[in-house]
Structures are given as C-alpha cells and as structure tokens.
C-alpha cells in the first residue's frame, strides 16, 4: 500500500469524524423524554409547547407503560440507550439515585431561578433527595382520600354531610350501605399484589403508629384486621385483592360501591361517569384525634447521569417547572408545590374535592426512600394478601413481613 493511500484513508477517517460534529452543531440539540403521560396528560403537551418556542433544543417524547418504566429505563441505561430525561414513580427514585444513575442536580438547582427547593411540599422533595443531594424534580403529587356516594348515604339514612371519621364509623357505614340484592358493596379499594396494595395500606399502618420499618406494630395489625373484617363480611368485593385502584373506583362510578378509597386522578373521570352526587372526605383515622397520615404518589422528573447534554436537559426541566401552575387547571394533576394556589375551576364538586386532597396532602409521607423499596413493598403486599385470604392471622402475616423487611434493611 502506497503512502498516498494512507493519506487518503486518514483524510477519510477525519472527514467521517468531523462531518457529524459539524452537522450536529448546525441542528438543534435533541433531548429525549420518556414518561407514562398520555395525550391528555402533561408531558406530551408541555413538550409540544416547548418545541414551539424554538430554543435550539428539540424535545422528543416517548410514552411508556406504568409497569415498564423501571425495566425499560434499566435496560436502556445498561445498554447505553437511556433517554436524557425520564419520569419515575417516586418510591423508585432512590433506587436509581443511590447508584449514581441519575444526575446530581443540586448545583444546577442552586443556580436556578426557576427550580427552588423551598417551594415544594416536604414529601415530594424528600423523594427526589438522596444523601442530602437532589437527584430530580418532583413532577406532580397525589394522595388518597375517601370518596362517597351522597345519594346512597341519604337512601340508607346516613347523613351525607357527615362522612365516616374513624375506622369504626367507616366499617359501620359500610355495613349499612352494603346491599347484595342491588349488587352494591359498602366500599371499594385496592389490595392488589403490586405497588398499589402497598400504597393503599401503608397510610393505615402509619396512622396507627406503624410504618414500613415497623410494619408489625400493634396499630398496623389492627389496621389489617379492619381490612380483614371488610373483606370477610363482604363489605367490599373479594376481587379487591386483584383489582387495580382504577378498576376498583370504576365500580364506585357505576354505582356498585358506596364508598371508594382513591386519589385525585379519578376526579375528571368521576365527573363524566358518575350519575349521582358524591363528595370526598379525609381518610378515616383509628380514633378521633389520632395522627393523620396518607400515602404520597405520583412521579418525579430525573436526568440520566450519562446524558450528553445535561445543561439542555435541565433547561427542559426548568420549562416543565415553570408550567406547574397549569398542572391542575389543564391536566387535573396536583403540582407538588406549596407556593402555587390552585385556582377555582368553576366546577363545585371538583373544587370541593380538591380542597380535601390538598388538606390530605399535608399528611402525605413518601414511601421509603430506600433503594430496595420494591422488595420491602413486596413483603407488605404478601402480608396483606395472606391475611385477607385467611391463610395467616394479621399478626403472623405482618410478623413475617417485618422479618423479610429487616433482612432487606440490613
């Protein structure tokens, strides 16, 4: 091979390296965003608006399914195909943050004039933190409360303006409202063998002095006993054990359950579907005056540590945060921030429900944060289901869960 050939090859190699670099600088920087938001939910709409601003950053969106968020993200990360930004469920944030998979945003947040930690509710902010640093930005927040059918309360001689306050009152009301002849159960909720089951049960345990690190506390056992009473007496459908919150609340909307424990994501659907008068109440407590607690749900934004454009990705996040005041008005989701007053929508049921949820949110606690949360959660789900199916007593089931969780916590 002659020297000229080498020169040619060298030139070719140089050209192939520099060409894409040139063309890239001429084009926009592309930021990939993954989330589970559908077309009527925030992410795709905010991205559409952002792209119209022509900031030199082009955002591409991909919708992923709830069950796939972590496994997709994980596979993408380990093969180097991760997007720049992803929305993850808040209890799973620590899993990624603790291993440095998410970018530490603390410095950028400190300099930012848009993202300010002091603006956020404590719960959501705790869920993006790990080791004193911020590995993300809360996207939205939610919690659960008690929906109830006012028409049915009236029909059964209960005061529709006095929803049950305590566990005993709740069970008592459920007994009165249950009407097998009409296919009506007193209450509906979800005890499914996935994160939803944990999400629904944990607040009950926390109100009675338990918690994920103390799951077999006396109060937690009592809470599970209440659930067991509800299932054993068929005050709730036995399918509660396999039904998601969305499906469970569907039976409330269609008039087959008189009360439902669910979150604000149901409000819009309920306004459309429910042909009766309904209201929302705070989650009942063990006894009057007891500490309130609630579950905290919804997703956080995070930037993957191996992104090529951290600055641009953060700019996109800043845009999302700057639109937080639209979250409820346009998408029916609660912004995770205490500094945003939510405007009245003009829909009285929606506004009344919202006030209850905002009140309930004050007591919301994040699940974890712990890097091994899925294992902790699985132990809790198994305990709930073992007790509700009568395979173990509530005490035995929660003792076993406590043992499994102890092994995880180390």
């Amino acid at each position: 091979m002659g020297i000229r050939k080498y020169v040619m090859l060298g030139a070719l190699a140089l050209a192939s390296v520099s060409l894409p670099a040139l063309s890239a600088s001429a084009e926009d920087v592309t930021i990939n965003v993954w989330s589970l938001d559908r077309d009527i939910q925030p992410a795709p709409n905010l991205i559409k608006d952002f792209n119209k601003l022509n900031t030199g950053i082009k955002v591409e969106y991909r919708q992923i399914q709830f069950d796939d968020v972590v496994s997709e993200a994980m596979r993408a990360y380990s093969t180097g195909q991760a997007p720049d930004i992803i929305a993850v469920d808040n209890p799973e944030h620590a899993l990624f943050a603790s291993r440095g998979v998410f970018l530490d945003l603390s410095e950028m947040i400190a300099k930012s004039s848009v993202v300010k930690p002091e603006n956020y509710f404590k719960g959501p902010l705790a869920s993006v933190s790990w080791d004193g640093k911020y590995y993300g930005v809360p996207k939205a927040t939610n919690t659960i409360a008690l929906y109830y059918n006012k028409d049915m309360f009236k029909a059964k001689g209960l005061d529709p303006d006095k929803p049950p306050q305590t566990w005993d009152e709740l069970v008592e009301a459920a007994r009165k409202l249950t009407d097998p002849a009409q296919n009506v159960y007193g209450i509906t909720f979800s005890a499914k063998a996935n994160e939803e089951g944990t999400f629904q049960f944990l607040p009950w345990a926390q109100m009675a002095g338990g918690g994920y690190d103390n799951i077999n506390a006396e109060g937690a056992v009592k809470a599970l006993d209440v659930w067991k009473t509800i299932i054993d007496e068929k005050l709730a459908s036995p399918d509660t054990l396999t039904r998601s919150q969305w499906d469970a609340t569907g039976t409330f909307n269609s008039g087959n359950a008189a009360m439902a424990i669910s979150g604000p994501w149901e409000i819009d659907r309920m306004l459309q579907e429910a042909k009766f008068d309904w209201g929302v109440a705070l989650l009942p407590v063990p006894e009057l005056g007891a500490e309130r607690s609630s579950a905290m749900g919804d997703f956080n934004w995070a930037v993957f540590a191996n992104t090529e454009h951290p600055e641009e990705a953060f700019k996109v996040l800043e845009y999302f945060v700057s639109q937080d005041d639209r979250m409820f008005k346009d998408f029916g989701q609660l912004p995770p921030r205490s500094d945003i007053a939510i405007p009245a929508t003009g829909e009285p049921k929606k506004d009344a429900a919202l006030q209850v949820f905002v009140e309930q949110l004050k007591y919301a606690k994040p699940r974890g944060p712990h890097p091994a949360w899925p294992k902790i959660s699985k132990a809790i789900q198994d305990a709930i289901q073992a007790a509700l199916t009568g395979q173990m007593s509530s005490k035995e089931a929660l003792d076993q869960a406590a043992e499994k969780i102890k092994a995880v916590l180390g």
């Binding site: 972590v70 496994s71 994980m74 990360y77 380990s78 093969t79 899993l95 291993r99 998979v101 296919n183 499914k192 063998a193 996935n194 459908s237 036995p238 399918d239 509660t240 054990l241 396999t242 039976t251 087959n256 899925p374 294992k375 699985k378 198994d382 289901q385 073992a386 509700l388 199916t389 395979q391 076993q400």
Partner: protein, 300 residues
C-alpha cells in the same frame, strides 16, 4: 490447502460446513444466553451490574436463599399443577374436537379454521378478555353458572386462593386447545382409510378401531404435541400478568412469572436466573423422556 478446498467442493468438508453453520447459529443465539443465565445464578447481580460480566461470585447462595423462602415450594407445586392440568385439558378437548371435525359434515373444514382464532390472538388480549369473563361480581362465567343453577353464590375466580390458579388454567386451556386440535387433525388425516375398512370388515367396533388403529398411528403426533404443550405452558406468562398477577398471596404464582417478578419488579436478577436454571433442568428432563419415547419412530 488444496485438499481442504477440494473437500469443501466435493466431500465431507461440505457436510461439516453445512452442519456447523446452524450449530454456530444455535450456539450464539441460544447456547450463550443459556450459559450466561447459569453463570448469573452463581453471582450477585443487581440492575446496575447487569451490563458487566465480572460480578462477585457467591457460590450456591442464591439457591440456598431461594429454597429457604417460604413461597418456593408452593410455587413449584403450582407450576406442576398448571402444566399438568393445562396439557391434559388442551389435549383432551383438542383431540375430541379433532375427532369431531374428522367426521366430514358440510362446513367442517371451515369451522375448524375458525377455531384457530384463539391461537392467533395475543396472550395479553386473551388475558384481558378472560379477566372480564372470570370477574367475580359481574363476570359472564358466574352469570352462566348461576343461571343454569350450578352455583348459588358467585365464585371469585381471580381472588379466591382455591380458584385463582384454576382461573388461569381455564384461560390457558381455551388458548391452547385449537393448536392441539389442528395438529391432531393433521395426524388423523395421515392415517390410511383402508386400515379402517379392513378392521370394519373384521368386525371391530368404533372403540376397538380407536384403540388399535387411531391411537397407535398417532403416537408420534401425540408425543410431539405433549412436548410442545410442555414448552408452551412453561412459557405461559401473559395470562398470569393479565388475570391474577400471581396473587392472591402467590396462590396462582408459577416459576416463570416468579422469575420475571424477581428480576424485573424486585430487581433481583440473580434469583430470577436461579429459577430459570431450575426450569431448564425440568425441561431437559422432559425432553429426554420425549426423545426416548419416540426414538424407535424416528428410526423406523
């Protein structure tokens, strides 16, 4: 050099080349992942060490941990029940249908084709439909059973620990029956008609003809179907995900779903791999039995 080349153009080298190509393909696409899976079961793996091969070896720890978990034996038992009942149900109903359509009435082949619809449908769709059918309060199945007086109260197929596994089995039998039927129909049509005519002349009744002609002639087809059935039922995953999610409290959990749950929901990839290794052992055992039972047919 010349000898090697000429052996490729005319001789043993060509045969070896032909065989080694698919072998290499098999090794890369099936063998390596299998070995990788076995190696993983002896390592400590989490989601972030997934991309690298060099991970701490822990010996038999994963196996010991697995078998000290209280749910392991019930789940293995569930798997055995699921596989046996599914194969038996699919085969018996499939065989019955195949015999039925063998009687050539007008429109028989057309109807038989329609049965394949269930086999063509994606598992998740089948799961979603059966999820509604089996629903406790408003399910169609409960409605039918109640109206015909078989049951007095609703059965909570998905949520009652006594029924949850059977809910998935019912759906799986429905899903696999048509495939069994088609394969068995092909086997049936391969039996020469004159055998039956001769037997009939000798005075053999229908049952005798079935036992002495149909079954023996179908032996290799039946062997193949049972082996395929074992593979298909051991892979069945969608129905569990759609109908029960393995619940309540693992009463409908089987190894294949559990392996996924451990790997992709609890991120314990080593344990997920460990269960897969146990499943590989079972399949190997089953395939040895299958190969031995049909060996003389292959040679004959």
């Amino acid at each position: 050099m010349k000898r090697i080349l000429s052996s490729i153009t005319d001789g043993r080298g060509f045969d070896i080349g032909l065989v080694s190509l698919p072998l290499a393909f098999l090794f890369v696409l099936s063998g390596l992942p299998l070995v990788y899976n076995v190696v993983m079961s002896f390592q400590e793996v989490d989601m972030f060490s997934l991309g690298s091969f060099w991970r701490p070896f822990v010996g038999l720890k994963n196996y010991i941990d697995l078998f000290s978990q209280p749910e392991t034996w019930p789940i293995l038992l569930n798997t055995a029940i699921f596989v046996t009942a599914s194969i038996a149900g699919q085969f018996l109903i499939g065989f019955g249908l195949a015999l039925f359509f063998w009687v050539n009435f007008p429109g028989a082949s057309w109807l038989r084709g329609l049965f394949l619809v269930s086999w063509v449908m994606p598992g998740l769709v089948v799961g979603a439909i059966w999820n509604w059918i089996l629903s406790g309060d408003f399910g169609v199945l409960n409605f039918l059973l109640r109206e015909t007086g078989v049951i007095s109260g609703n059965i909570f197929w998905r949520s009652d620990p006594d029924y949850s596994l059977w809910a998935v089995i019912i759906a799986n039998v429905w899903l696999g029956t048509s495939f069994n039927m088609i394969l068995l129909s092909v086997g049936l049509s391969g039996i020469p008609k004159d055998l039956y005519e001769a037997a009939e002349l000798d005075g053999a009744n229908a049952l005798q003809r079935f036992w002495t002609i149909t079954l023996p002639m179908m032996r290799s087809t039946i062997g193949a179907i049972v082996a395929l059935g074992l593979i298909f039922t051991l892979q069945q995953f969608d129905l569990f995900a759609a109908i029960t999610s393995g619940g309540p409290n693992n009463t409908s959990n089987v190894t294949q779903y559990w392996a996924w749950d451990l790997s992709f929901r609890q991120y314990d990839f080593a344990k997920g791999a460990t269960i897969s290794v146990i499943m590989i052992v079972f399949v190997m055992f089953a395939s040895v039995v299958y190969v031995r039972s049909t060996r003389h047919e292959v040679r004959g």
